[in-house]
Amino acid sequence: MVVKVYGPEYASTKRVILALVELGIDYEVVKVDLFKGEHKTPEFLKLQPFGVVPVVQDGDYTLYESRAIIRYYAEKYKSELLGKTIEERGLVEQWLEIEAHNFQPPVYDLVVQLLFNPKLGIPTNQERVKEDDEKLARVLDVYEERLSQSKYLVGDSFTLADLSHIPFTQFLGGMGKEHLLRDRKHVSAWWDDISTRPSWKKVHELYPAPF
């Protein structure tokens, strides 16, 4: 049975697509065009009542929130992606939360300010961009320290914690913010490693960046 992934083929939807490719799970994308407001239609809201993307349908089962989706499939098909022990799992969860609450917010806001808003004719808020830059720099300083201690965020194996960062980190180059990664030796090496995984190369080829 093919997993249906509803969403545009970038950002959080790509997080799910990447996990499915990494796990070798068959899927199909049902495009939801955010610029046309397709995520706010009554039909879509039946699937995802908060009106955000992505959402998956797996037979009769519907699940939303990209990080809940990737955890479900990882646990089902390749649980080492979530750590091999209860303690490792705790650390993977910790870094998934850091990604969600510390890393993504400034990156997401930069994407909105520098990539989305121009498409909508909304002027860029330069003060917000400056704040986001500073926040992200401080967060990446912590990552730099962490990644000087281990190859990946949790020990020496790639986990969902690393995977979860890939789609949004990919945006940084297109916004002229790649220096935030390159200025940090270990973050830079980590990014080179995780962004050249066959799964990401495949996803990136199938769904090139929209901006």
Partner: protein
């Protein structure tokens, strides 16, 4: 005298994220020590604390095998590690249940938490800290939270709790922010004007574990449980 519990939580119980972890530990009947972090004095930004939480946030958690931070990660770890004690269904008893709880935990973190956290700060903390309230922020986030609670109202008309008919970590995760908003701010009405949300709030906030957390928030000094 009993040996001190190996489980340690660092941070003030008034912090919503700390309260989230305390509620989980109490639901799971896990003994713990609560260690103070004086945020008014900037203790959470000092080198000694940054060693255990490099982002300078509370809580931090420690047991005999791990140091962890991020309240939702800590709560999940506690559910895994102490699976066979306390509330055994808190994080589900099979993969589909767990995924559903996870979905609502994410919904809490991504949709409920942002506007409610702003309101908690503006309405509950700013006055105490003598910081001027930002009326625009309050209005904007009230509107956002109202939309989120409309979704919850529909959901809670379909099931007793968010992820099904049992209380889970997904419901628990909402307790800390909601406690501030429903008790003593003028946005309580966002909850009490929605029939199902109000029913759900009454049920989850009357759990013994939550009442104990609220007691800890009211008492002037940290104590061991």
């Amino acid at each position: 005298m009993a040996a001190p519990a190996p489980v340690k939580v660092y941070g003030p119980p008034l912090s919503t994220a700390v309260a989230r972890v305390l509620a989980t530990l109490l639901e799971k009947n896990v003994q713990f020590q609560l260690l103070p972090v004086n945020m008014a004095k900037g203790e959470h930004k000092k080198p000694e604390y940054l060693k255990i939480q490099p982002f300078g946030q509370v809580p931090a958690f420690e047991d005999e095998s791990i140091n962890l931070f991020e309240s939702r990660a800590i709560s999940k770890y506690v559910c895994d590690k102490y699976a066979n004690q306390g509330n055994k269904g808190l994080f589900g008893t099979n993969p589909l249940e767990k995924a559903s709880i996870d979905q609502w935990l994410e919904a809490e973190g991504q949709n409920f938490n942002p506007p409610s956290s702003v309101l908690v700060f503006q309405l509950a903390f700013a006055p105490r800290m003598k910081i001027k309230q930002d009326e625009n922020m309050i209005k904007l986030n009230e509107a956002k939270l109202a939309k989120v609670l409309d979704v919850y109202e529909r959901r809670l008309g379909e099931s007793r709790y968010l992820a099904g008919d049992e209380f889970t970590l997904a419901d628990l995760s909402h307790l800390p922010n909601s406690q501030y908003l429903v008790n003593g701010t003028n946005v309580a009405e966002l909850f009490t004007s929605r029939k199902n949300v109000e029913r759900w709030w009454d049920e989850i906030s009357s759990r013994e574990s939550w009442k104990e957390v609220v007691e800890m928030q009211r008492s002037p000094s940290p104590r061991n449980a």
